[in-house]
Symmetry: C2
Subunit: 149 residues, 2 copies
């Protein structure tokens, strides 16, 4: 469970406290995990709620938690992958672990809200939304032991 | 005060309630207000706090409120502008007015947090942060009558 899926990215991002408020970095065009801009959107998820599983065939996700805390779980079922069968858990938190999670195509992703009242994540994707490149599976299909939030 | 500065943009964005939570649209590469991707970051501002004034010489801002509500004020002091001297107020709210505000270069921008406990705005800018292209002025310099939040 602790092995790292080799081609995801986890990059700490700056949290800058200024006089007027806090600035949370997310992504720059010069970052190595930038793969082009297709669309940016924010997903909210309540405490304890789980959204799983979704797999993108072509989209690379760049994910930053902008409110609360989120447990991400990535499952690798790619034939021939050195981390075939692995589930990797990544906890990102606005307060205590501000980082960007980069998920390449063909990995299964689920996530769970952890803080009350609300959690929100920003996705900066390299493609516009296209239902044709998304696969979905019910949460039971890949047996990750989701803790209660 | 009610005249609209002709070259800013205000585009309503979709709020999609799904089974697992809400998705807030922000920006797509195909949108007419997309001017390239340089950097994305989130700014937080507490209720009643004001950050003013800042002017970008080259950056176009695409702003979406992802938490709470924010009053934006745009001041036009561009010589020869058809809206020279105008102050325009734009209220965006996660709950009641989800829209994207596009601010071209050379306009002065200030903003104020309106909701408790916190407000947050996402900026998707066409340039990476560069202090050389930013001008700042104290809030007193342009006499907008900021209400108390």
């Amino acid at each position: 469970m602790n092995r790292v899926i080799h081609d995801i990215g986890i990059e700490p991002q700056r949290v800058i406290d200024t006089d007027g408020g806090t600035v949370l970095h997310a992504l720059k065009a010069g970052d190595s995990s930038f793969h082009g801009f297709g669309e940016a959107y924010v997903s909210e998820i309540g405490a304890g709620r789980i959204r799983a599983w979704k797999r993108h065939r072509r989209m690379t996700l760049n994910l930053v938690v902008v409110q609360g805390a989120v447990r991400f779980v990535i499952h690798d079922d790619r034939p021939g992958s050195p981390t075939l069968g692995v589930y990797q858990e990544v906890l990102l938190s606005r307060e205590s672990n501000h980082a960007r999670l980069t998920v390449p195509p063909l990995l299964w992703l689920g996530f769970q809200g952890l803080s009350t009242p609300m959690n929100a994540l920003l996705n900066i994707a390299n493609l516009e939304h296209d239902p044709e490149e998304i696969d979905r599976a019910p949460v039971e299909q890949y047996p990750f032991p989701w803790p209660s939030a």
